[in-house]
Amino acid sequence: DSSVYLRYIFNTCFRTVEPLEYYRRFLKENCRPDGRELGEFRTTTVNIGSISTADGSALVKLGNTTVICGVKAEFAAPPTDAPDKGYVVPNVDLPPLCSSRFRSGPPGEEAQVASQFIADVIENSQIIQKEDLCISPGKLAWVLYCDLICLDYDGNILDACTFALLAALKNVQLPEVTINEETALAEVNLKKKSYLNIRTHPVATSFAVFDDTLLIVDPTGEEEHLATGTLTIVMDEEGKLCCLHKPGGSGLTGAKLQDCMSRAVTRHKEVKKLMDEVIKSMKPK
């Protein structure tokens, strides 16, 4: 049908030449080019425990955005100022293969910001009590290296990373470690493993601000590029705010912020339900 084809060509050209105008036309009708409503998330999928060489792993997809998290547990001496605590060390990697905007070499600004964000979430939410990672106070503790790697970048990296981290930590099993009193050496019993005690379940919800006023949830890469600001809210299951990340951009009224928080609370329920279903389906019958 030639008229359909012509319209298709026109739309594609318009989208390339005037992307903001193109988006505004959709936003006026309270929807977006991919058919989503302003408060609707993309299809979220999670795959837990796929990397057998890691102590815990998870793969999360938010639409096209794909993040994999691998957790490796190693021994370390506890910090001198906190001899009864272990460490959780996150690192977010945005390699060139996930998007053409990243070059190979040392971590760029976005990767560093994301790493710091995840570290803040871990700290503020108390997802793991660091005391649980202590084996022998002052002598030996666990350090959990959490590597988050983006495999496909299409916006909203922070939500995907937070979910991947949570799912991977729920998948981690640590072997029992005892300190032999005679030799003072650690003995690892690989046959006796137990899951981590995950105390809270922080879930992130990100928004993009359009033209200083309109908020849309779960922005794609294109939407992030056109946005005048972004906002990420991290909630736990009791509706407590763990973290609020608003790096510059358009200012928001208190009322708008409250709307975002309500959306974050509902998103938490969606994510928790999905994760519980996946974990339940994995348990050996």
Partner: protein, 161 residues
């Protein structure tokens, strides 16, 4: 993991040497094709898998190529009668006395890359291993062809308005 570690540099070079003969570089003057391979889980024959994946990715990207590159890994199991194992697992690789990765351009039937290390003993043993590896590459080729065709079909269907 920090980029540019010693082992990564060697493997990156092996990747480059094996992929160059297959790509029509003359068609891309003043252009740089960056190939980035990320290993999610090492279950054995990682370099072979990376080579094959990289060649497929280049083909999928529409880069003009003379031929695909197929990789195959081998390990020499130690013992009284050393035998070469095709497509070893990580455990087999760790216990091996020697390891070899072969890269073949299947249609042109030319070896694109060869990387090996260890103590293999007789020269005939290594030649036998290379032959085994090249045979393995040829066996993999139809699978790769089919996956490329499927991907092209999917892309064609998606591009329809």
């Amino acid at each position: 993991a920090p980029p540019g570690g010693g082992e990564e540099r060697e493997l990156a070079l092996a990747l480059q040497e094996a992929l160059e003969p297959a790509v029509r570089l003359g068609r891309y003057p003043r252009a740089q094709l960056e190939v980035s391979a990320l290993l999610l889980e090492d279950g054995g024959s990682a370099l072979a898998a990376a080579l094959t994946a990289a060649a497929l990715a280049l083909a999928d990207a529409g880069v003009e190529m003379y031929d695909l590159v197929v990789g195959c890994g081998l390990s020499l199991a130690p013992g009284p009668a050393p035998t070469w194992l095709l497509d070893p697992t990580r455990l087999e690789e760790e216990r091996a006395a020697a390891g070899l990765t072969v890269a073949l351009m299947p249609v042109l039937n030319q070896v694109a890359g060869l990387l090996g290390s260890g103590e293999g003993g007789l020269i005939e043993s290594w030649a036998e291993a290379v032959r085994l590896g090249l045979e393995g590459c040829q066996r993999l080729y139809p699978v790769l062809q089919q996956s490329l065709v499927r991907a092209a079909r999917r892309r064609g269907a998606a591009a329809q308005p």
